[in-house]
């Protein structure tokens, strides 16, 4: 199972690498959005606004990047994949790949945000950890939802389905980002990290349990 998952992840990476336009699209999207926000706010924002903008950009980028993750498997490839891999292998490989993709995109957003706005988080290590944990949660949730929406012709559906149920995770991540800038007690940090970790586990379990019901025709 493990070697199969690795092979599938490798396949995803290779496919993405071959279609450089798709990858380029999403990077330009990140650059463009951040630049737009830089101009709208006239280059001058406080840390809480910085954090809010960072996660808004990250959320919209995630939706755009993940929405196509099952589209290319929707037709003939679907039958091929079904015959060579179990649903569990598919969902794990997609989640791992999407988590990698979202993490990389979030790091790019972080770099671009630092480039445009001088504001920065004081505890960078903790903020990076938040980004990684947040990306994993985003990936768990949006991978499953994109498997649902790939079967419809409604492309806004992923955002509609995702936004209300990403809310608990998003609120925790924003809170955690603020704590990584300024925390009064260490206890708060551990509690929030624990809550985010727990949510990551819950979303992962839900995705893995429910995916086999989607991965049929």
């Amino acid at each position: 199972m493990l070697s199969n998952i690795l092979k599938l992840v490798k396949k995803e990476v290779m496919l993405e690498w071959r279609q450089k336009t798709a990858l380029g699209t999403i990077f330009i999207y990140v650059l463009g959005t951040t630049f737009l926000i830089y101009l709208i706010f006239q280059g001058n924002i406080t840390i809480p606004t910085w954090i809010a903008l960072f996660w808004i950009i990250a959320l919209f980028t995630t939706v755009n990047a993940v929405s196509k993750s099952f589209i290319k498997d929707a037709n003939e490839q679907f039958y091929y994949l079904r015959s060579v891999a179990t649903p569990l292998e598919i969902i794990f490989s997609k989640i791992i790949y999407n988590a990698l993709l979202i993490s990389v995109l979030a790091l790019v957003i972080y770099a671009v945000m630092i480039l445009f706005f001088n504001e920065n988080i004081s505890d960078k290590g903790l903020f990076l950890l938040t980004i990684i944990l947040g990306s994993i949660g985003f990936s768990n949730l949006f991978t499953l939802l994109s498997a649902i929406t790939a079967r419809t012709q409604n492309f806004v559906l992923l955002a509609i389905l995702g936004f209300p149920i990403i809310l608990p995770l998003l609120l925790l991540i924003v809170k955690m980002s603020e704590l990584s800038n300024f925390a009064i007690q260490d206890k708060d940090i551990y509690m929030n990290l624990g809550a985010i970790g727990l949510l990551d586990v819950i979303t992962l379990i839900l995705s893995v349990v429910l995916f086999p019901y989607i991965w049929r025709d």
């Binding site: 499953l144 079967r151 409604n154 559906l157 509609i160 608990p168 925790l172 019901y213 049929r216 025709d217």
Partner: protein
């Protein structure tokens, strides 16, 4: 008496409305007469939560048994749950205007949780509308509803504890209603009101289910078996299996 609970529902609601408007209430600052909304606003949420729970139970049942009837029930309960959630927000907004001074208060996690719940429901209905194939519609919306239900439970149970900002009684340092309720007059109306509104919501849902079933019967749609899944899942009904499988392949 098969429908005893419907009579009970009518009785309880008459009692709620009469006692709600005419019954005695304790003298309270700020709240004053608006405390009567307790019999209408709070039971809406009880009813909505009950219906959400029933709906998600039917969704789980659909995934395990693939009977289209379960999907019809899940959808009907979700629809009525949405209605009651909407009524809960309306009655809550009126009450908030009278006591807190605004229709919508930002520093209020419960309001935001309620709005998120309605958004989830709305997304659920749009998802259902996006499929032509009935079996797919049932399956995918069941998956979404289970996922959303768990996340919603996390939202309303975990986040208020962390943000700790609520104006509702019993939250964020505010006294609960128990402390207002010295002569327990409120309770005598409140508990029957909760039961009455829940019964009414279930009643409406059963009516919706009946309408849907009659509609399907009239158009000759089968209730027992879903269209495609028996091929993969069960070998109970060979006849359905074969014909459906051939049809499906021809379409492809």
């Amino acid at each position: 008496m098969k429908n005893w609970w419907k009579y009970l529902c009518i009785l309880l609601l008459f009692y709620t409305v009469i006692m709600g408007f005419k019954g005695s209430i304790p003298e309270l600052n700020i709240l004053e007469e608006s405390i009567r909304n307790l019999y209408f606003h709070v039971p809406m949420w009880f009813a909505m939560m009950t219906l959400m729970l029933v709906s998600v139970v039917y969704s789980i049942r659909y995934l395990s048994k693939q009977k289209i009837e379960d999907d019809i029930k899940a959808a009907a309960f979700a629809k009525v749950g949405f209605l009651f959630g909407f009524l809960g927000i309306l009655t809550g907004a009126v009450w908030a205007r009278a006591t807190w001074g605004a229709w919508w208060v930002f520093q209020e996690v419960k309001l935001n949780g309620a709005a998120a719940a309605l958004l989830v429901y709305a997304a659920y209905f749009i998802l259902r509308g996006s499929f032509d194939d009935e079996e797919k519609k049932a399956r995918f919306s069941a998956v979404y509803s289970i996922f959303a239900f768990v996340m919603f439970m996390v939202l309303i149970n975990v986040i208020p504890r962390i943000s700790n900002s609520s104006l509702h009684p019993g939250n964020g340092g505010n006294p609960g209603f128990n402390s207002y309720d010295l002569d327990s007059n409120l309770r005598l109306v409140f508990y029957p009101a909760v039961l009455g509104w829940i019964l009414l919501s279930v009643w409406i849902a059963t009516l919706l289910i009946r309408v849907e079933k009659i509609f399907r019967k009239k158009h000759g749609l089968d209730l027992e078996e879903s269209l495609i899944l028996p091929v993969i899942n069960s070998s109970k009904n060979n006849k359905v299996e074969n014909t459906d499988y051939i049809d499906f392949e021809e379409i492809k």
